[in-house]
Amino acid sequence: MATETMIPDVATELPKLSNEEIARYSRHLILPEVGMEGQQKLKAARVLCVGTGGLGAPLALYVAAAGVGTIGLVDFDVVDESNLQRQIIHSQGTVGKLKVDSAEQMLHGLNKNTKIVKHNVMLTSANAMEIFRDYDVIADGTDNFQTRYLVNDACVLLGKPNAYGSIFRFEGQASVFGAPDGPCYRCLYPEPPPPGLVPSCAEGGVLGILPGLVGVIQATETIKLILGIGEPLIGRLLLVDALGMSFRTLKLRKNPDCPVCGTHPTVTELIDYDQFCGIAKPATAGPLEVSSHGSVDQGQAVVDGIPQISVEQLKARQDAGDRPFVLDVREPHEYAIVNLGAPLIPVGQIGSRLGEIPVGKDEEIVVHCKSGGRSQKAALELRSAGFLKVKNLAGGITAWAEKIDPSMPKY
């Protein structure tokens, strides 16, 4: 009997490690909290990264490096050079390629043993359950409320933990939602903010390093969940402030009245999340890269009573000597990047600065911003202030740089 207890249990259900893997993961294997069994658990584990953007990039890299056997990647987008300020899983050489292909290339470069499953699709209510079913941990690195609620509900319905992270400018949040006795995203935020109250893109942007910080926290939680060690962020919300470099945790409670994880759930299957979030369905760009206030379709002639003018139409009129008053409604820091020489009144100040508009209420005004969303909002505000001939420059200064003056920078 005594000899038996001297031989520790060796997990037989878990996949074996090759000698090459034992050498590769030696720094894990000599940590008692991970050890041989932990490393085998990692090898057996299947992690889904929803989004391979700012958060998904460091998350997938560290999870692959740690030896997680299978990593699923959900993204339908293509790598753009402006992603490289923070999305370190992509690189100069993969600009223009599908993000799932680009990410696979980098992950395989890091760890040849990792199995990558690419889901080059837009995550929707129709496919989320099917995709999530095969994974042990879901890591939500998306960037809009629709997908946040979709990921949450699918995780709760399937009983999968969600390593959650989100970022804004210099601030981040992280938690683990959907654990058996823990709260879910809806316990914290029962409903999304109405589109009018979310921060506008005038206050957008993100410090490139911040998704690195938060994505690595998500990766840490993912690894802890797989290993069953430490205290995961279940029932806690971590707040990260990169400027103050402060980390605080707040207590989260499971809401007994939560519509999806409460005692009497009313959400028992996936719903229409665009409708739930009160926004129009995304047209060309998909949910992972659509800003939360929606986009304005450039193809329409009139949107909400505001005539849309194309950059070509505006240019043709200017060339013909017909120069309508053009108003820029972006922010001063954007004006400093590139401008059309038009007077500037940021969209948030239109109401209080109407007196500065140098044309009469029956004269034409063409409003522009970066790509047409804010200027549409400003145009509606001007019209309700009594300006009768307000038009929105479809596609904004970005379309101007693309179609009229390619020497201008795009941001």
Partner: protein, 95 residues
């Protein structure tokens, strides 16, 4: 007491990340904060004066909604309030 202001709402506090107010309850502190900022009030409260469901207010590390006296909870100078709005960014694109 100190009220921590999240980034999306700092436009209403002249960019300040924390605001000092003197108040003896959570409600009093939020009233003091929003007295001079009607736009901020609109973001935090519904028209009938209830906290909006997507805004969470924490007294120290507890959600005010789960405190027995909720917004009427008594506070002292050493307490801290934190406003937690929903943020969705993962990559943050801008239009």
């Amino acid at each position: 007491m100190k009220i921590h202001i999240p980034t999306p709402l700092r436009q209403f506090t002249h960019g300040q990340e924390a605001v000092e107010v003197s108040a003896s309850s959570v409600q009093g502190a939020l009233d003091a904060l929003t007295l001079s900022a009607p736009e901020l009030r609109r973001h935090l409260f519904t028209e009938d004066g209830k906290l909006r469901s997507f805004v969470n207010v924490y007294l120290n590390e507890d959600d005010v909604r789960y405190l027995p006296a909720k917004e009427l909870t008594v506070t002292t100078d050493v307490d801290e309030l934190t406003i937690i709005p929903s943020i969705a960014g993962g990559s943050s694109c801008c239009r």
